[in-house]
């Protein structure tokens, strides 16, 4: 699903965020990305859906060469990747339904398909009965579930979650994790950046630890921590 070879990223201001990353993530894997703030997690994630371009090295996502990729093909890549953020990034004036439908309108799905798929994914995250609500009327956990539904709408092969539980209380966090596990169970690859020791140590999965722009540990069924 994701192959990186000697990936380096230096920002225009001279800061080197990643300094030679080699990694291979297979389809269907569930991967935790851990590391201190500023270690390079966010850059790692941004490189995967080409919000940023690597300075050197090789990146292949879903068999697409991201460094060779033309600008106009970037949207097509993003349709294969779902992204979930800590701050949900929902549009406040739109209903839950509209927020999810938005992702399908953009790819020019037919209205019938949109209706069908939106209800499907809302059902998947358990919010079918709140389709008419606006985000402000929902709890944080519910908002994050809407964001997950939106990310899943286009049947992505890869779901990236950047600290999805960062703003949520522990109970709600577990709910979100349950949904992510279900999604992973259907074959979707998941990469989740997190600071939650509890989650990583309870639901044991592959752990990739980044420190100072390098991968310092890559361990299946690993524990939380980013010391060498």
């Amino acid at each position: 699903m994701i192959e990186m070879q000697q990936v380096k990223k230096t920002y225009p201001n001279g800061v080197t965020a990643l300094n030679g990353i080699d990694i291979n993530i297979d389809p269907g894997e569930f991967v935790y990305l851990v590391g201190q703030s500023g270690a390079g997690k966010s850059t790692f994630i941004k490189l995967i859906f080409r919000e940023e371009m690597a300075s050197s090295g090789q990146i292949r996502v879903n068999n697409k060469d991201l460094l060779e990729m033309k600008w106009r093909d970037v949207p097509l890549l993003r349709r294969e990747i779902g992204v979930v953020y800590q701050d949900f990034k929902l549009l406040p004036k739109m209903t839950v339904y509209e927020n999810v439908a938005f992702a399908l309108e953009v790819v020019e799905e037919s209205p019938r398909q949109i209706r069908k798929r939106v209800m499907e994914v809302l059902d998947q995250v358990g919010l079918k009965n709140k389709a008419r609500f606006i985000p402000d009327e929902l709890s944080g956990g519910e908002q994050q579930r809407v964001a997950i539904a939106r990310a899943m709408a286009n049947y992505p092969k890869l779901l990236i979650a950047d600290e999805p539980t960062g703003n949520l209380d522990p109970d709600t966090s577990w709910e979100i994790m349950k949904i992510l596990e279900e999604i992973n169970g259907t074959g979707t690859t998941i990469i989740m950046a997190t600071h939650s020791k509890e989650i990583v140590n309870t639901i044991k999965r592959r752990v990739i630890a980044i420190e100072g722009g390098l991968i310092v540990r890559d361990q299946h069924r690993g524990e939380y921590g980013y010391e060498v």
């Binding site: 993003r78 938005f102 020019e108």
Partner: protein
């Protein structure tokens, strides 16, 4: 990429919705376009008419070759043939000194009768009226006649009037063009700034659209529509002003026009064509301004 009709409909709906939602901004942009286009319309009507008048006068330019009074009939005939043989000359017409006097008297009306005294002793010259094939060659031909021909007393071709008119017209054209370009850019700038303010509010929306894989054109289209709408709305008043104003001037021109050589461009089709042009400029200003303002927000 072919766009589905449904998607086009969505873009139009979004564009209209956004213009409506930001109605004050829309109004400000429309006012900017309106002001610009009124000035553009006035300048264009002025410059195009000056052009038209000048080229009309240009057509009328003829060279009057005044024959030396000492020349005898044979020599006059010789001169006529020589003039006929010149390159780029369309026609050569002889006008005797008596005809010249008649013309003069007629053109001066009542006062002209005084010239009747000269009928016995006509001080005027015989003349050849030479018309060039191309009006632009007039000056060159006149020069050749002065330099190379015998029995020529003087050559008249209204050089001052023609030259002055051309000069004035050229200046008017340049000044007009500079002003129009400056105005158009000001309007584009104003629109792009106005729309930028509304975009800042929509920034999150654009960011999310990009995240879920919207193409840049998908994002741009509603803004394109919005710009188009601003441009078209902005050209309504200028076109109305153009129609009524030109109609009024056209109707009253005859009354004040003592110089019947001044002919304005005819109302139809001129005003219609200019109105079309104004609408086009308005649309281009609107679309350009709005598309320009989204550009920066697309780089996510």
């Amino acid at each position: 990429m072919a766009m589905k009709f449904r998607t086009l409909k969505r873009h139009f709906k979004e564009g209209l919705k956004n213009s409506w939602r930001n109605s004050w901004m829309t109004l400000a942009s429309v006012a900017a376009v309106t002001t610009t286009l009124i000035l553009v319309a006035v300048f264009l009507a002025l410059v195009l008419n000056l052009n038209y008048i000048a080229s009309g006068l240009e057509e009328d330019v003829q060279i009057k070759v005044l024959v030396d009074q000492t020349a005898n009939e044979e020599e006059i005939e010789e001169l006529g043939e020589a003039l006929d043989g010149l390159d780029n000359v369309e026609s050569v017409v002889f006008s005797s000194r008596d005809e010249e006097l008649q013309d003069l008297m007629t053109s001066m009306g009542e006062q002209g009768e005084a010239w009747g005294l000269f009928e016995q002793d006509n001080p005027l010259n015989d003349a050849f009226v030479v018309t060039a094939e191309e009006p632009q060659d007039t000056v060159a031909i006149a020069d050749v006649i002065i330099e190379d021909f015998d029995y020529v007393d003087r050559v008249n071709y209204g050089q001052d009037v023609v030259q002055n008119l051309f000069t004035f017209n050229n200046y008017a054209r340049i000044v007009g063009a500079v002003l129009i370009v400056a105005l158009v850019f000001t309007a584009i700038f104003l629109i792009s700034n106005t729309i930028k303010i509304t975009i800042i509010a929509r920034r999150k929306e654009i960011e999310i659209m990009k995240l879920v894989g919207a193409t840049n054109w998908f994002i741009r289209w509603p803004f394109f529509v919005e710009g188009l709408l601003l441009g078209i709305l902005g050209s309504i008043l200028p076109i109305a002003v153009l129609f009524t104003g030109y109609y009024y001037i056209d109707q009253n021109m005859g009354a004040v026009n003592q110089f019947d050589f001044i002919q304005l461009l005819p109302f139809t089709p001129f005003v219609w064509q200019l109105a079309g042009l104004i609408l086009l400029i308005g649309a281009v200003i609107g679309v350009w301004g709005s598309v320009m303002s989204v550009r920066k927000f697309l780089k996510v």
